[in-house]
């Protein structure tokens, strides 16, 4: 089981092998990305992953992926030991379970502890800045590529220029510059940035392995009928692509508040020949008819939402999912406003300084209870679709 905050965040599983970008190559390293009109593919593709546009950028990402693991294994361990030492000095049990306030009192501004956070964050900033600098320097070419894809298929893209974008979605979550809505290349940056995050946490995802595994584990409705599927907060749509590949005869709809996210997602799905319908829209107000979907999912969206929004999204999922349909919001386990001191430290700076603005709201919620309250029934026997995350197989009753 991995730490519950381990995916894009600080508590990467220490047991994963050190690995580089190339370890995520498709076995045969052959491109399966289709060459289509207007496509920019400067350095070829590796399976379903287009190679980054320059060798230097690829190497910068290789470094930051490696450093992330080094931080998780090396520098962090030193910080954890320092916590134990400080607790012993204060006459405390070094394994004591503490709150954030107690943790802060122990850590103070200890530089050894601080180093583990500072280096992790500086590395995260370099990851984003390298990507952003590259795409901005080549903005015209990459914007033209998206423009060519916007109206092309398979699949479709709908943008909503009149959408009122709630402030809570405008934060630079994970300190990604511009966040999901504020940079035209948010989707590009998120895709390549999270590749490196995945490597240090739960494994490679360059070929969408994690999303495919998760999509394949989403339970079917009891009657076996899957005609329409919805993913909300789809980001660049790796989960929706994986669902379409699993259910080729179903209509798959995928929405996200960030236009740059769905633009990139649509372009990528098109290049892969996967027909998903992407749209810019709010998870709490999808505009689909009542009972429209056989399966409704989200993938690590809720920990980035305030509690009020989470409740509104669950209510909307309940409205658009048909009776007997499956609702599966993949996300972290909730709970845990106390823990071992070092774990609490990581959780703290991940929230405060990695700018996971809403993670504390999510973790103090009983997410599964909230879903049950909205009229879904939990099938507690189904194991988690993404191992280490919450087991949340809900059925609309």
């Amino acid at each position: 089981m991995i730490g519950r905050r381990s995916l894009f965040t600080a508590t990467g599983a220490a047991a994963t092998a050190l690995s580089s970008f190339f370890a995520g190559r498709a076995a045969e390293a052959k491109s399966i990305v289709k060459k289509v009109a207007g496509d920019v593919e400067l350095r070829g593709a590796d399976g379903r992953m287009e190679r980054l546009g320059s060798l230097d950028l690829e190497s910068q990402m290789d470094f930051t992926a490696g450093f992330r693991e080094f931080n998780n294994k090396g520098i962090s361990r030193t910080a954890a030991m320092r916590f134990q030492q400080l607790m012993k000095e204060k006459g405390m049990d070094p394994k004591a379970i503490v709150s954030f306030d107690e943790m802060h009192a122990i850590a103070g501004s200890d530089p050894i502890i601080g180093m583990s956070a500072k280096t992790w964050l500086a590395n995260q900033q370099v990851t984003w800045k390298s990507l952003q600098d590259y795409f901005h320097a080549n903005a015209d070419m990459y914007l033209a590529e998206m423009e060519a894809a916007d109206k092309d298929g398979p699949g479709s893209l709908t943008l909503d220029a009149n959408l009122e974008i709630p402030d809570y979605t405008k934060h630079e979550i994970h300190i990604q510059p511009g966040g999901y809505v504020g940079d035209p290349f948010a989707g590009h940056m998120y895709h390549y940035g999270t590749n490196s995050f995945y490597i240090g946490a739960i494994g490679h995802n360059e070929q969408d392995q994690i999303h495919k595994g998760t999509a394949n584990n989403i339970p079917m409705p009891a009657d076996g009928k899957v005609k329409r599927i919805l993913e909300v907060g789809c980001g660049l749509g790796q989960m929706s692509c994986a669902l379409k590949e699993r259910f080729p005869d179903a209509e798959v709809w995928a929405t996200d508040v960030g236009a740059p996210m769905v633009r990139y997602g649509h372009m990528r799905a098109r290049d892969l020949g996967i027909a998903v319908n992407y749209g810019q829209g709010l998870a709490e107000k999808t505009g689909f008819p009542d009972g429209h979907f056989d399966i409704t999912v989200s993938y690590i969206m809720h920990h980035e939402l305030p509690q009020t929004a989470t409740r509104a999204v669950i209510a909307e999922a309940n409205r658009v999912t048909r009776t007997g349909g499956v609702y599966y919001p993949v996300d972290f386990n909730t709970g845990g406003s106390t823990g071992p001191a070092y774990g609490m430290f990581r959780r703290w700076w991940d929230h405060r300084w990695n700018n996971e603005v809403w993670s504390r709201e999510f973790h103090t919620l009983n997410f599964s209870d909230e879903i049950a309250k909205a009229g879904f029934t939990l099938n507690a026997k189904t194991p988690a679709a993404l191992p280490g995350f919450g087991a949340r197989h809900f059925v609309k009753t």
């Binding site: 080094f70 090396g74 030193t78 700018n355």
Partner: protein, 113 residues
């Protein structure tokens, strides 16, 4: 770079910026800044080293063109070896960050036999 002037529609709105650059973990912002510099420098150094590896590999096979460099895909063996070297490089450059300096400059030797 974030001030880029775009000539095509961006479909982006103004984000709420994070204040991560204002935090000091060491009580002295200069120290925080130095750590940021070191990480960024490490990234650049590694990118340079890795490019050279690519060049060497390409050179070993044929003549050199920049397109050949850009498109070079390492073999599984090369990738494994480079990965090992990358981690050695990271270890070499950054392992000092794990040192715990708790002796003052004037501290005497500990008792020795």
């Amino acid at each position: 770079m974030a001030e880029t002037k775009f000539t095509r529609p961006t479909f982006a709105v103004k984000a709420i910026p994070s204040d991560v650059n204002n935090v000091t973990f060491f009580g002295n912002p200069v120290l925080d800044n130095l750590v940021s510099v070191v990480i960024a420098m490490g990234t650049e150094v590694w990118a340079t080293k890795r490019r050279m590896k690519v060049m060497e590999s390409v050179l070993a096979k044929k003549g050199v063109t920049s397109e050949m460099l850009e498109k070079y895909v390492p073999t599984a063996e090369e990738a494994a070896a480079w990965e090992k070297d990358r981690d050695r490089f990271i270890e070499m450059t950054f392992s000092a960050l794990g040192n715990v300096g708790d002796l003052t400059a004037s501290a005497p030797f500990p008792k020795r036999g």
